[in-house]
């Protein structure tokens, strides 16, 4: 049974530090490249951490800025001030 959670982001300059942060914080994640977009899959759970994005970006980053780059998600959403997490309860 698949437990894959997934986030798809635009492949542009705004999204690149987010993609890199996801890669860093979710070692099990698989990055799939498509024209204009990047689909990141991970088993069970995937987290976007504000701290990591800010480190890579070199400026303050509001987690809700994710709204500007997001294309699609799969999983239950948990959004907080300092992280955005997707998960399945399986």
């Amino acid at each position: 049974m698949s437990r894959t959670v997934s986030i798809t982001l635009q492949n542009n300059d705004d999204a690149r530090p987010i993609i890199d942060a996801i890669e860093k914080d979710n070692p099990k994640a698989t990055i799939n490249l498509y024209p204009a977009m990047v689909k990141i899959d991970c088993d069970g759970r995937l987290i976007v951490k504000q701290e990591t994005v800010e480190e890579l970006l070199g400026r303050e980053w509001d987690v809700q800025e994710l709204h500007l780059s997001i294309i699609s998600i799969a999983g239950n959403v948990d959004e907080e001030d300092d992280y955005f997490e997707l998960s399945w309860n399986i």
Partner: protein
Amino acid sequence: MAEKRKKKLGIKQRYSMLTRGLGWDTTYQPMDKVFPYDNYEGIIIHDWEGWEDPFRLTMDAYWKFQSEKEKKLYAVIDSFAQNNGHLGITDARYVNAIKLFLTGVSPLEYQAARGFTHVGRQFRGVGPRVACQMQAIDELRHVQTQVHSMSHYNKYFDGLHSAPHMHDRVWYLSVPKSFFDDARTAGPFEFLTSISFAFEYVLTNLLFVPFMSGAAFNGDMATVTFGFSAQSDEARHMTLGLEVIKFMLEQDERNIPIVQRWMDKWFWRGTRMLTLVAMMMDYMLPKRVMSWREAWDIYFTEAGGALFADLARYGIKPPKYADIATKEAEHLSHQAWHIFYNYTHAAAFHTWIPEKEELDWLSEKYPNTFDKYYRPRLEYLDKEEKAGRRFYNDTLPMLCQVCQIPMGFTDMDDPTTISFEVSEYKDDKYHTCSLGCKDIFDYEPEKYVQAWLPVHQIYQGNCGGAEVPDVLKWYNFNLGADNMEYKGSPDQKLWDEWQAHRKKA
């Protein structure tokens, strides 16, 4: 870095301030009279405060992010128009997918705005009302930005001049139109299950994600930008879809069978409507990203599999006939393209036989079905066309009473036999294309006997006249330009001239 943040309230508190304590119980009139629709479907809600929007977007943040999205999008639309972006697409055949999008999909965004405005008024809980209000505004933005983006193509290509008029009248556009009419005339919880869950959560990825990536691959900067801009709202809509399902299931176990029936119904209706997208992906993108079959595997089998495993703890099963829909993924695009090839004289876009390397791609992507059933037929039609006998079907097809698609789909275990089902209601016979559509009809026959079926309407004389050209004029088609085979079309002539200029330069 923590001390630099000046916000006094956390994200959860801000969202709570927006959605808690704002509503009140009416006293001049009983609540059930003020909100007459949110309990007649049988859904039992004990505590509206149980509603949680996972995105916790407040109004100020909503306007801030939406305006940023708009600024980015309009910068691209302007630059696309200023720099003759249409010259950069891979091939003019591609524009036919845009024609289908503008006439078939964009009007649905407007229907969605109407639907969410309506149900946003009808829920007595503040959480769902705020979510529906934001989504109604989003949907209005989507239809506007889509019309603006695609209007550039209307300067040069045929078939893009009357999208709303065509949406209300043209035979194949009644497929998406009737889908939304059906949803909007249901109760508010069924509406959210149909649009937010079945369509947005389970199926919309198949439309906006691989197809838009395909648009990028084919050089259509305008479409990919509005597509992804819309989809950035869609991620929020998807969470609303999942939230409403969990909310209903957690409130009362008597809601479970109602929700399951809606899921079964709207999954099936949604897959039927996406037939158009299957065809766009496999046949209308000159450069292809992935086949419909591959998209189905990623977005339904895998993503849907995890979703329904997650919902299993509530006693929810995967949608009925999901197995048939998965079998259909091997056939659907080919059968749909064949229907449109037959009837392209009555469509506002062109069809064609794919070129040899495109046929080879389809053979590779559909090893179980394409060479066996579909390639020989396309090659035969190609020969006929080259011999000056391009085939057009002059008999109007019978339509499914529920999904309104011409009854051309086959039995999936026997792709040489046309599939159809019959129901009787008040001494009349009604035909449906599949068990999925028959179940839907049989549960609410009084609703579906009222369907505005284009072919019936033409034969009854309600569509401009008795001859096909009369009907097409009533559709606002420019005959000989909007319709017919791509080869020899004004679109092709113009495109070839541009290419010749490019070679000269």
